[in-house]
Amino acid sequence: MSNKVQRPVSPHLTVYKMQMTSLLSILHRVSGIFLFIGLSILLWWLIYCIHNYGYSYIKMIYPMRVAIDLKDDFIFSIFRTCVGKCILILWSYCLFYHMFAGIRHLVLDMGFGFKIKQAYLSGWAVIIFSMLVWLAVWIALLI
């Protein structure tokens, strides 16, 4: 009888009230999953490129120099559309967020910043710095 009751189990996401610090920790995991998926897609695209163009390269007569146009490439053509660029820009925020939040977690692992005020301060610092670096990088890239 008792084993049929569905009790909430360990990370109590739906039980506790959402706080800024817990939201940061959850977003760290979510951004990590997005990063893993995105980087895997990039990696397999790189492997595809190497084997596709690399194979056609060895068939070329040396030392003939032929530039293979990347405009025909499937993923490059996605990244050149407006929606593709927006997805890429939003996805890249995961990288900066995960990096800064990861540094915060490393500092917490070393035993610093456990006071409530410090934890909130470092949390806001992570958000502000990751946003600033993200914007700075994209402004530098697009100008």
């Binding site: 990370p11 980087l39 895997s40 990696l43 690399g54 530039a67 146009d69 990288l95 990861g102 990088v137």
Partner: protein
């Protein structure tokens, strides 16, 4: 299945790869920026041609896959409670990570050797 020693190994490995990934990610951002400016595949391969970029790309692939594997393993042990589902997710994750790692590292080694043998 997981005793205290493998748990502490998991903890240490996750932190070590995290520290290693900080400088390599900065390299990766610059690398992706250079690749996005390229118009032809040859230009992309030209960046891979330098030994520094080749080795860093290999280290990046191995480290990010291992770090991501450890992170997703942690998430799966936290949120997936059905043992069968857990086994299916974990074994497919191991397979995917291993195949991606081998394919990525060998592809980069392949294009590096090819560009060294047949420079253009």
């Amino acid at each position: 299945m997981s005793n205290s020693k493998s748990a502490s190994n998991h903890y240490i490995a996750q932190r070590l790869t995290a520290v290693l990934l900080i400088p390599i990610s900065i390299w990766f951002i610059v690398f992706i920026f250079k690749i996005s400016q390229a118009d032809s595949a040859m230009e992309v391969f030209r960046y891979i041609k330098s030994p520094f970029n080749t080795i860093t790309a290999m280290i990046f692939i191995i480290t990010f896959l291992y770090h991501g594997f450890l992170g997703i393993k942690e998430i799966v042990t936290d949120y997936v409670h059905c043992p069968t589902q857990k086994k299916i997710i974990m074994s497919s994750l191991v397979l995917f990570t291993f195949v991606s790692c081998v394919a990525g590292v060998f592809s980069i080694a392949y294009i590096y050797i090819k560009l060294r043998l047949f420079p253009f």
